[in-house]
Amino acid sequence: MAINLVFLGRLEDAAGGGSRTIPLVPSIDAVLDGLEPGLASALRGPRVKLAVNGILLQDKDAPVLKDGDEIAFLPPVSGG
């Protein structure tokens, strides 16, 4: 029972790698609470978007996580 985290762009540096597998927890808040404080703070940044299994989350979404889910943390895209 695990979920996969994906860190894009500069968040890859903050996480020390592009992805990480962690034990299943029920919510995104629980995921963040289980990470190093510096990384959790970067992932909670106001311009970081989240996608669960390739679907972008809207502001108020609080999905219940299940085994095998992939959460991607997406900083602002770099543009031109």
């Binding site: 390739g54 895209v77 543009g79």
Partner: protein, 147 residues
């Protein structure tokens, strides 16, 4: 219809554009934009990172919006990911249309939206150090032109 590709390896823009044009003899005009890694300025390499579940689907969605907005005979969107060197092609957009205005507007719109909205994260290597690139205000101004 539209040909939308996300490539991890180098491509030959001249060959792609020639094939695209040859397949559309009914189009009076083809407008293309080619973006390449700029030589000079001290950038030694550029890397574009993408996220599989989002990047290509969003490019395909953009192509659909362009096709819905202008009357085109064809639309080509090719974008690289991965590590590129100065002079390497990054992006090729081509729009074929019966009317020149449609082809120009479609290619221009597609580039503005690719640059500002696409799921790519860019870093540059200079003096041996990789550095992530933050968004530019210019991109938001470009996209605002289209209402």
């Amino acid at each position: 219809m539209s040909d939308v590709r996300l490539l991890a390896d180098p491509f030959d823009p001249a060959r792609e554009l020639a094939a695209f044009t040859a397949a559309r003899p009914e189009a009076g005009g083809v407008v293309s934009f080619l973006g390449q890694v700029r030589a000079g300025g001290g950038v030694e390499a550029l890397e574009l990172q993408h996220y599989g579940p989002l990047t290509l689907p969003a490019m395909q969605d953009l192509a659909g919006r362009v096709r819905g907005r202008w009357d085109l005979d064809g639309l080509l969107v090719i974008h690289r990911s991965g590590v590129m060197m100065p002079g390497d092609p990054i992006v090729l957009v081509a729009a074929a249309a019966r009317h020149r205005r449609d082809a120009f507007a479609a290619a221009d719109f597609a580039m503005d939206h690719l640059k500002s909205e696409s799921w790519f994260w860019k870093r540059e290597k200079a003096d041996g150090e990789w550095r992530w690139i933050e968004p530019r205000d210019q991109d938001f101004e470009d996209i605002a032109r289209w209402g």
